[in-house]
Amino acid sequence: MAQAVVMPKLGQTVEESSIVKWHKKEGDSVKKGEILFEIETDKAVLEIESFFEGALIKVIVGEGMPVPVLSTVGFIGMPGEPIPAVPAPAAAPELVSDFRFQVPGGGARKAETQVPKAEGGEPKPAGATRRPATAPPAPAAPARLFISPRAKALAKERIVDSANIIGSGPNGRITVRDVEAYCEAGRYAALRITPAAKELAAREDLDILKMNGTGESGRIGVEDVKRAVAMKPRKMSKRRQIIARRLTESFTTTPHFYVTVSVDMTDLMAFRKQLKDAGQAYTVTDFILKAVILSLQEHRTVNSTTDGVTIRWHGPVQLGMAVALDEGLVVPVIRNAEDLTLDELRETARTLAEKARAGTLLPDEMMGSTFTVSNMGMMDVENFLAIINPGEGAILAVSSTKDQVAAVNGEVKVRAMMKMTLSVDHRIVDGSLAAVFANTVGKKLEDMALWKSLT
């Protein structure tokens, strides 16, 4: 009997997910453990393996549609087997068209020329059509290109992109004449291009009229086409799209305010070395995380968020730690961080960082952080400003510890100095509180009595 494939529930807080990519199509045979599809939650993209053996006989939920978890997304069975009836999955209400990508370049241009026509000519004055405040602006409808078959064939033969051609027919339909006019306007007859460059441009669907030739007398060569290929807009990975969306959301809706402090790390570095020699190795991050946890307990407002109307203290510290990966940043969360001893904190941080690098973090492990620490100490930076994670009220950006000339008791000394910049949501944290908090963390790092008591 056909087995229903369901949208997995990855963690307690995940209510809906969408399939980013089916790795199998209908009719493909599927082995147990093979990757069936990739799903996207609001924080991550994960590959999902098949629990069943057989053929993918039906796909119910296509790519890009968010559905509640545990909905049936397809069936695996024997080829030709009847498919049980299922109710069509209810598309999750929000998010549907939220961050659809516009076709870059040509596509967007197409939309410009056609959308006004569809809406009846003149663009309407702002406010004439009212949309619910929460609805995102309607993205330009994926523009359809109207082109006659002969014009299409001609454009292909000439290796020009019909998206760049303005159609003169009804509905902006592109005719053979339009293609010819486009070529003439671009001085197609005078164009010089090597045969191999032409072949490559055709394969890559490029427009040779839009290319810059650097060869003899402006002749377009293979190198020129290769450059154009490399310059073609490429779709960002789903993960990067999610990152982009979240960063934009935070940076455009949260008024950021920054405070930078310098911390004298000389004593702590020496103490760390001492511990290491004694067989107790801590990273600098371990100390910083601990100092932040302690400071957050003293200043509750920094561990809060606002929606603009209410302010909510989060209670226990759910500490996010940013981990840089090749394909973008992830922020695993140390749960109830204040309950952990320094040793436990070290172990948890290490485990999460390893999982992040191995790509095995579950969505739950990246959710619900209330404050984040981003340490770029190993990147040799003087100072940087971080963007607050959505859902949090502040983030601490930690820079490199460097030997610097410093005044100590009126004397010039060389000290290991580290800069930290606190970014706060200025709606809830005032400048003075931000300054106090940043210094609280700094002072704790300089307080050797504290560290001796904790280790």
Partner: protein, 468 residues
Amino acid sequence: MEKFDVVVIGGGPGGYPAAIRTAQRGASVALVEKESLGGTCLNCGCIPTKTLIASADLFWRIGHAADLGLAVEKAAFNYAAMAERKNSVVSKLRSGAQQLLKWHGVKVFAGAASFATRNRIAVAAPGGAEPVVLETTDTIVATGSDGVMPGFLPKRSRVVGSREFLDLTQLPASLIVLGGGVIGCEFACLAAQLGAKVTVVELLKDILIMLDTEVRRELRRHMEKTLGIRVLTGKPLEKIEAGEGGVGGMFGEEKLEAELLLCAIGRKPVSNGLKLENAGLQATEKGAIEVDEYGRTKVAGVYAVGDCTAGSTHLAHAATAQGTGVADNIVSNARRKLETLAPACIFTSPEIGSVGLTEQKAQEQGVAIEKGKFMFGGLGKAMAAGETSGFVKWIARADTGQLVGAHAVGAHATELIAEATVAIRAELTVEEFGRTIHCHPTFSESWMEAAHAMRGTRAHQPPARRKA
């Protein structure tokens, strides 16, 4: 102090065309040469060897004239006369170069040049007199390369480099060639065609290791089977000793002996004595000068071309292209990259021509390729000429069919490679080339046939067997 727009150091195939090009464009130019105009190429490289090879090759063909239905009594050669002819060709060309420089108004200084500063070149005067100092805006260094004679070789008249070999007036009856590179193989074939007993010893696993494998195999087979050359590879020649009557050494367990040993193990850039440091430059560990793709060194106004540059291919024509390219860039203020597609020609028997990627190189670079080959055995002209061994081979990109490499071995290969070079530089595809009409009957038709071979459309060879 005399002032010039450009000073060229070195009058070889890199330097003197650069001086002429600069002068043609209206700049004032001085050229400094410490030996003879024409450099290694003209005086002790390309030209003299090709002159001798022409005699040797004809002698060899006369010896095999019966194959073409000719009866020749008994051919003989006079090596001293061959050497004399070579000298006269060289001196004619050398005075030609001198005349050309004069016509174009290039002022030639005889002596060794060195940098006094970035803009001042000192030319050593004979007998330790005060050097002549030239002031210049730009300088092109084209000092070339020199044969390497390693210290372990005995310093005896029985051990020679290519330069000394060319001065011989008598051919040795037996010859050991140390080094199976271009120079070693050319001399080996030359001597063998004249009847000398030749042994080539190469430390690497094959002779001419940079060439396409199939081409290499064809040449080696020919050298061994047809010319009777012993080709020993993969081990060094050790315990080399030379006496009055001969020279010998150990190749593994075997003792090799001959009248003469020719050392052709490589060439090193000439930069000693240039006092590059006075210009703010430093040569590499091997003595080469580093340049960018425009021939510029790290110091503004100082350029280098040809064999003295790092990564040089030791090809006279590449040096000429670089020299004239740099000259154009200096004089016109344009900035055009130097040509990089340099064909190689090797005057062994059979000849070899090669340009662009080999199969092995393509694999290293991760370029997916396809190849098309045509054997001279299937060519009407080759049969008519009695020169049926050899082939041409195209390498094309698998995706676009762009021609990216060409290799020829056999009669006229050094001439044949020119057409392939034009095709590759013009970025032609297999299809375009295949459609190009070629003269019949000629050897050059084989390029067209080889292009068709890639598409299964060649007419003059049996269809390729279908893959199961």
